[in-house]
């Protein structure tokens, strides 16, 4: 058992004994020896923040103004890093009317290029096997009509394909091989597996309770009327080493474990009423899942072996949004949107103790977050 696993187990036993509690920020009892870098989007300030958590604390290294209209809030929403760490990609939700994805160089944060996509492009991921970027067009505010996933060649920043998916696609994470993308269609209550090489949906998994579940999607001409979304999934993780994908059920306040081999729901974790999980992330060994509870104002830490909740500390600000896990699985870094004129906040949690160890304010409505790198 690794030292991390040992610490997690100890923490789990401790916390299960103590019950679930709220945690105030505590000084990191074991301050990091490495530096951890993340990029964070402030959706209502049109800024991206480069942050570093390390031996010297949690600090902002750069604030990058994004968008092109100073008098329009264009809404940077999703962010990701190229697998080689050289570039970061940013989705801008609002345009005239279409949104876009922008490419920047990491470190210098120099703008490289952009591509116009669909309505409200949001979450994205890059295939490490081809370099192609997959961006879901959330189309959050339009009529409930099927939307698409855009495929972008990142060298030229050209949209080379669109994949018809479903209503309000959100969350997009690749498998390690880079040939499958997992995303959810929020208003269709479904998880989709995208064949990233053929630019088409390979499999769909209906997560709801409709009796017509399992019907071919193409036959469901009037299913929008028949199906009122219940699960309202908002996120799908990358597959765990055990071949599981985890889906946030924002509508029914649950987390779904999907067995990829069997393409079925393996387990359902009840987050409790009013918690509404929103974004998820798992540790690299698939041992712990971290979930932001958007309405619950908490961060849930789940032990995936037992399926037990480790802890759900309350966040320091309202509306938790994004979460990433550091490459050494030590920290979960969480964004909090805030409300109105409140700044956004980014919190660092020690995964082993599920305890918040640091926080920093950034621009308003901190949402999208991506882990860049860790270094000595």
């Amino acid at each position: 058992m690794s030292s991390h696993s040992t610490r997690r187990l100890a923490a789990l036993l401790l916390l299960l004994g103590l019950g679930i509690a709220s945690f105030a920020t505590a000084e990191d009892p074991q301050p990091p020896r490495r530096n951890y870098f993340v990029y964070v989007c402030a959706e209502s300030d049109d800024t991206v923040h480069l942050l570093r958590y390390g031996p010297s604390g949690f600090e902002e290294l750069d604030e990058i103004a994004v968008g092109s209209f100073p008098t329009e809030t264009e809404g940077p929403h999703g962010i990701n890093i190229s697998p080689d760490g050289r570039y970061w990609f940013l989705s801008i939700a609002h345009g005239m009317p279409f949104g876009a994805v922008h490419k920047y160089e990491t470190g210098t944060n120099e703008w490289i290029g952009d591509a116009t996509l669909g309505m409200f492009p949001a979450t994205m991921d890059v295939s490490p096997s081809t370099g192609l970027l997959y961006v879901v067009n959330f189309n959050l505010h339009g009529d409930h009509v099927p939307s698409t996933i855009s495929v972008v060649e990142t060298g030229t920043m050209i949209e080379v394909a669109t994949i018809d998916t479903g209503v309000m696609p959100h969350g997009a994470r690749m498998n390690g091989k880079g040939d499958r993308l997992y995303s959810v269609n929020m208003m269709d209550d479904e998880l989709v597996e995208v064949d990233a090489m053929r630019f088409e949906i390979a499999r769909r998994l209906y997560l709801g309770t409709d009796p017509h579940a399992g019907m071919d999607h193409g036959d469901m001409g009037n299913m929008d009327e028949m199906r009122a979304p219940v699960v309202k999934p908002t996120w799908a993780t990358k597959p765990s080493p055990a071949g599981k994908v985890y889906v946030a059920g924002n509508g029914d306040s649950a987390i779904y474990e999907i067995d990829l081999e069997g393409w079925k729901v393996a387990r359902r974790f009840d987050a409790g009423p009013g918690q509404n999980p929103y974004n998820l992330e798992i540790t690299s060994d698939g041992g712990v899942l971290v979930a932001t509870y958007k309405s619950g104002k908490k961060v849930g830490f789940w032990d995936l072996a037992s399926g037990e909740l480790i802890a759900a500390p309350e966040t320091s600000r309202r509306v938790p949004h994004g979460v990433v896990v550091s490459d050494d699985d030590r920290y979960a870094i969480v964004t909090l949107e805030g409300v109105g004129g409140e700044p956004g906040t980014v919190e660092v949690y020690d995964i082993a103790t599920a305890q918040r160890v640091s926080e920093i304010d950034v621009g308003k409505q901190a949402g999208g977050i991506i882990y860049w790198k860790g270094e000595p």
Binding site: T130, H141, T156, G341
Partner: protein, 685 residues
């Protein structure tokens, strides 16, 4: 050790291959290549020439460094998929003409990954889709009478076999150059009596027109001007006709108009001081004596017009302020309350969802009477019902992402403004702009359409109609209602007029009927203001741009810079379309919201401040150049949200004063006063 090379084979190579892994970075790297690693991708055919609609199958072969064929998947895509498509099996179909590129790539294996986001190998497949051949070339109709010694412009048209209009390079010729010839610029010169055939050709297609040139009976031109002494900016109608020896008008006689100018000695290097358009509309931009020269063949005539300085400049008096220095201020609305007092409401931008209510009864003593806060970051637009009973504010950046609008009881702001309704059904994407027309609210939804809500009971508004364009990629930014016609501003689609009850097209709030539109090339249409000129009776559309081509200071400390101008179109009330006749353009600044009243245009010109412009009479050309600007005011505030950075959002004339909101400093009230020394803006006394 295998050194891999990033290069593409030329498009005319026998086969396209890329040895190595990097296709686009142009870099070299060294590494250990396993025997089964893909090292070469061969696509057959290596390039394609396809007609529109034609298909072709690509075959791909993957080999390792030893030349062994590997069973590996190949990903195909097009860099111009709307012009040429390719499916996952490599089937190609040409859609539109041009030079295009397809890509074939072999993904890297999971085990070979070293965090490089690139395929193992990749090749480009050039695809040429030639334009369809021309089907016809023709010459636009010429006048019925052609006279020796005259000149006119001729135009040619071309259509290809797909039916699309084309604009190829044309070559002109004449069967008899002693009768007529055509210059390379399309000027038809009629040289002598007789018949000839004018030909135009492009590619291998030609067209022709037989012409008959008559002797030229014209002996003189008769010219008149609607006025011979005017002010700069006034439109003078110059009319001319050719007469024969008997004094009869010569029909179809081609005339050209030009102008020579002489400005006062005190006005040095004035540039173009006046212009005359092809229809004889003359406007002086500078004072002086300007001579319109009309020519037709070898005869000419002149008419001299004196242009005096317009002398409309006024100065400012700042009456009062409602400063907002801790956040950006957005739009404003000023109205007379039910209690007889005057009020203004201002929104806030990128902050905490506040709307401020000001008592402006005495503009020299503006004071805040109430503040409303809603769950939003931006309250971009604010409007008050014509009866002064309720206000509507739009929400953007709500914490639950359900934005919508909020209705406020403003029947007695002094005693407090109350929220009486929230409405977000199908408006969750943010209501950037609203308008209240009688008992209906028009609310933009997510920049795509506007919904029309019945607000007879403002506490319970409900949707009765909706309007959305069906053009590709359509967007909308603003809407304004005048006499039962909704005029929306739609970026690339320009200003769109919709009958919602007053347009005579059967429209109603629950049945909006599109009447027509006025669009213009730059696609920056952000605001529109319909206005019937008091001086001419013409229906005009003032269409304001919004653009930020200069970017903005990423540090957020320098003043922002905008671009764009106000386009002025005469609106054809029968045909439902606008014809742009004039502009008001302040160089190095950009227009935003605008208002027209009593033939005066008020523009919030962002970094150009507040601008007031005389738009009386007919309008032609660039009003900024013509001395029509009455005044401008740049509201710098050293303690502003961004110090000393005027950024005027929107104006509203009200009871003889002008109120406006500034993004960085809040609400202002000013009035125009007579200047101590009248003069044209930018001109010497």
């Amino acid at each position: 050790m295998v050194k891999t090379i990033c290069s593409f084979a030329g498009r005319r190579s026998d086969r396209l291959s890329l040895l190595g892994a990097l296709a686009c970075a142009g870099t070299l790297f060294a590494g250990t290549a396993a025997a089964q690693d893909p090292a070469e991708l061969v696509v057959d055919p290596p390039e394609l020439m396809l007609e529109v609609g034609e298909t072709a199958q690509l075959a791909a072969t993957v080999r390792d460094a030893a030349g062994n064929t590997l069973e590996r998947g190949v990903v195909f895509f097009s860099r111009a998929r709307r012009f040429v498509g390719v499916n996952p099996a490599g089937m190609v179909e040409a859609h539109r003409p041009g030079e295009h590129t397809l890509i074939a790539m072999v993904p890297r294996e999971a085990g070979a990954m070293d965090r490089r986001a690139e395929p193992a190998v990749m090749v480009q497949i050039p695809v040429t889709v030639p334009y369809p051949p021309l089907a016809s070339v023709g010459i636009a109709a010429l006048p019925g009478n052609l006279y020796a010694g005259t000149t006119m412009r001729v135009t040619a048209m071309a259509t290809d076999t797909s039916g699309a209009e084309r604009k190829p390079d044309f070559t002109w010729s004449s069967s008899d150059s002693s009768v007529a010839s055509v210059s390379e610029h399309g000027m038809l010169m009629l040289k002598g009596e007789g018949s000839a055939t004018i030909s135009v050709s492009a590619e291998s297609v030609s067209g022709e027109a037989a012409i008959s040139v008559k002797s030229n009976p014209a002996v003189r031109l008769e010219v008149s001007a609607s006025e011979t002494e005017v002010r700069t900016g006034d439109v003078v109608r110059v009319t001319a006709k050719a007469l024969d020896a008997g004094g009869n008008e010569v029909p179809d006689y081609p005339l050209q108009y030009a102008v020579s100018t002489r400005t006062p000695d005190t006005l040095v290097a004035p540039g173009a001081a006046a212009f005359v358009e092809p229809d004889g509309a003359f406007v002086a931009e500078r004072p002086g004596l300007h001579t319109v020269v009309v020519s037709g063949g070898s005869i000419t005539a002149r008419e001299t017009i004196r242009a005096n300085p317009r002398n409309i400049k006024k100065d400012w008096e700042i009456l009062g302020r409602g400063p907002v220095r801790d956040r950006h201020t957005s739009d404003l609305w000023v109205w007379e309350g039910l209690d007889g007092k005057d009020y203004a409401i201002t929104g806030t931008w990128g902050a905490d969802g506040h709307a401020y209510f000001w008592d402006v009864t005495d503009p020299t003593s503006i004071h805040l009477v109430d503040t409303v806060r809603v769950d939003a970051r931006t309250v971009n637009d604010v409007k008050v019902s014509p009866d002064g009973k309720f206000a509507v504010i739009g929400r953007e950046g709500a914490s639950d992402r359900r934005n919508g609008l909020v209705v406020l009881d403003v029947s007695n702001p002094t005693d407090g403004v109350k929220i009486i309704a929230r409405y977000d059904d199908q408006l969750s994407g943010g209501v950037h702009n609203v308008f209240v027309a009688e008992s209906h609210i028009l609310a933009l939804s997510a920049g795509r359409r506007y919904d029309i809500l019945n607000a007879e009971d403002p506490e319970n508004p409900y949707r009765v109609g909706r309007f959305e364009l069906d053009t590709p990629g359509h967007g909308i930014h603003d809407v304004w209602v005048e006499d039962g016609i909704a005029w929306s501003s739609n970026w690339m689609d320009g200003v769109v007029a919709v009958d919602i009850g007053g347009g005579g097209q059967g429209g109603a709030p629950n049945n909006p009927v599109m009447m027509g539109s006025f669009k213009y090339p730059n696609g920056w249409n952000h605001a529109g203001f319909p206005y019937r000129s008091q001086s001419t009776g013409k229906m005009l559309v003032f269409a304001g741009d919004e653009s930020f081509p200069f970017g903005f200071d990423p540090e957020g400390k320098l003043p922002d810079r905008a671009a764009g101008w106000v386009h002025i179109a005469e609106w054809d009330e029968d045909g439902g379309e606008g014809r742009e006749v004039a502009r008001y353009q302040v160089p190095e600044a950009g227009s935003h919201n605008l208002w027209v009243e009593d033939d005066i245009l008020y523009v919030g010109y962002y970094n150009g401040g507040l601008r007031v412009v005389d738009v009386s009479g007919d309008l032609r050309g660039d009003l900024y150049q013509q001395g029509r600007e009455i005044a401008f005011f740049e509201p710098a505030d050293p303690d502003g949200f961004k110090p000393n950075a005027p950024f005027v959002w929107g104006p509203q004339p009200f009871k003889g004063n002008i109120f406006f909101s500034d993004w960085n400093s809040g609400l202002w009230a000013v009035k125009l006063v007579e200047p101590e020394t009248p003069r044209n803006m930018g001109e010497p006394n």
